[in-house]
Symmetry: C2
Amino acid sequence: MSIPVSEAMSKPQTIGVFDSGFGGLTVLRALIQRLPRAQFAFLGDTARLPYGSKSRRTIARYAAESAQFLVREQGAEFLVIACNTASALALDAIQDAVPVPVLGVIEPGASAARQVSMTGDVMVIATAATVESRAYTAACRAQGLRALEKACPLLVPLVEEGWTEHPVTAEVIDIYLAELVGEAAAQGMNPDTLVLGCTHYPLLRRLIEKAVPAGVKVIDSAEAAAEAAVRLLNGRLATVGDAADAESQPPAVRCFATDSVEKFERLGSSFLGRPVGRVELVDLGG
Amino acid sequence: MSIPVSEAMSKPQTIGVFDSGFGGLTVLRALIQRLPRAQFAFLGDTARLPYGSKSRRTIARYAAESAQFLVREQGAEFLVIACNTASALALDAIQDAVPVPVLGVIEPGASAARQVSMTGDVMVIATAATVESRAYTAACRAQGLRALEKACPLLVPLVEEGWTEHPVTAEVIDIYLAELVGEAAAQGMNPDTLVLGCTHYPLLRRLIEKAVPAGVKVIDSAEAAAEAAVRLLNGRLATVGDAADAESQPPAVRCFATDSVEKFERLGSSFLGRPVGRVELVDLGG
C-alpha cells in the first residue's frame, strides 16, 4: 500500500482516526507525536459500542458508516482504524467502503512483535471480543510467530474508573499476567514479548512493565500502528514542519462522537495526553 | 394496581421478566423462589446493551419492543422489568406499550428501604447510568427518605469475571463503601440502610454485608421486586402448588436473548442459582 502523490500533499493532510469508543485516542496521541503538523479528525462511535458483542455483519456496517463520515464529511485522505474489534472483523469492509488507504492496529502490533522477539513466542492481552476473534493469533502466525492470547476484561473498566496507578489495578494485572505466563509455560512456550492488544492498555503501561517477567518486552499496538502510518505516508507529512516548530501551536484535531459526549470529554484527555476540547456530536443513524 | 381475575388464573400464569442483559436473572431467581409453580419467560436484550449509554427515547423503544415480545409471543400476563435503567427511564413507555401490569425494580427497592430504615437516611449503590438518572433519589424521596447514591462501575465487570468471592472484589467494595459512608457523613446524614440498586449486586451480597458499617441493613432490590410482584398477584399463584411440591420438578422457565447466547448460558446459571439451560435467540430488529 502506498499513498498517491497528489495536490493534497502540498497542504496539511487530514488523517481520520476511528474507534468504537474513545480508547483509540491513545493511537491519535501516538500519531500526533509523530506527525505534529497533520490535521486529524477522530470519530468515536460511542452510541453503538461495544462492537465486541455484535455480529461481524453489524460491525462491518457500523465501521463502514463511520469511515465514510471521516472521508466524505471530514475530508480524511488516510484512515487509521484505532479499534481492535473493527480491525479484526471489518478491515476489508472498511477498505471496500472508502477510496483512501486504511490501516488497522492488529497487523502493526504483530509486525512490531516480530521485530523484537528472539524466541518467536509472543503473549497478547486484549478484550474478550478481540481474543475470541483470534485476529492476533492469525496476524502473528503470518509473521512466523506463535501467539498466546488472554482476555483481561477488568482492565478497561479499571482504566475508565481512573485507577491507572491504583494498587487494585496492579494486583489485577499481576493475577492476569501470572495466569498467562503459567499457561505459556504449560504449553511449552518461551515468550519474550507481550503485545498490548487494546487501545486502553497504554494507560496501564507502567504497571504492566513492572509486572512482566524480566526480559519480556512490551509492545504497544497504538505506538506500532502510528509507526506503520508514518511509514505508509512515506515521511511526507513530517517534512511540512518539525516537532519543535509544532510545539508552539496546538495540533489541529477535531473530535466527534455519536453519543456520550460528556464521558468522552471527561476521560478523553488522559488518553490523548492533552485536553480533547469540545467533542462534536454526530448522528450516523441507527 | 391489581390483577383482574380471569380464566388465566386457573392455569399456571406466565410471568415475563425483562432485562437489557442477564443480570435480571437474580430477579427471576427471587421470583421462582416465591412462585415455584408459575411459568416464566425471561428476555435479555443482549444485542442492544448497554442501555445506560443510550438516550431515553431509544431505551423506551427497545424496552417497549422487548415487552411486546414477552406479552404477544410468550403470552406473559404480568411483566417485571428487571433492569434498573429501563425501570428508571422507560417504565411509562412500557406500560403504554402492553395491556398487562408492569412492575419495575426501583420503587420496590425504595419501598423496602422505608420499611427497615429508622433514620430515614439511605445509601444506594448502582451503575453510573442508574445513578445519573437519579431515579432512586426520587423514589426514596416519594417514600419520605433521603438518599445518597454512588456509582460503582467496577462491580459489574468483577461479577462477570466470576470474582464474586475474590479478595480484589472485597477490596474494591471496601473502597467504594468507605467513600460513600464518608460522603454521607460529610452531608450530615446518618444512613442505616444500603440499597443494592443493580441486578448484578446480589451475587456480591456476602462481601457487601461484611463491608458495611455495623447496624447498616442491606436491601436487595431483586428480592424487593419479587416480594412486590407476589403482593400484586395477591398470592393467587402461590396456591397453585406449594414450594415442597415444586422442588420435585424443575420450574417452567424459558430464556431468550437477542445476541451473545454463549455468554448468557455461561454466566447465567450463577445469577439464576440453577442451570439456565438452552437460551433461545430472538431477533427484535435494529
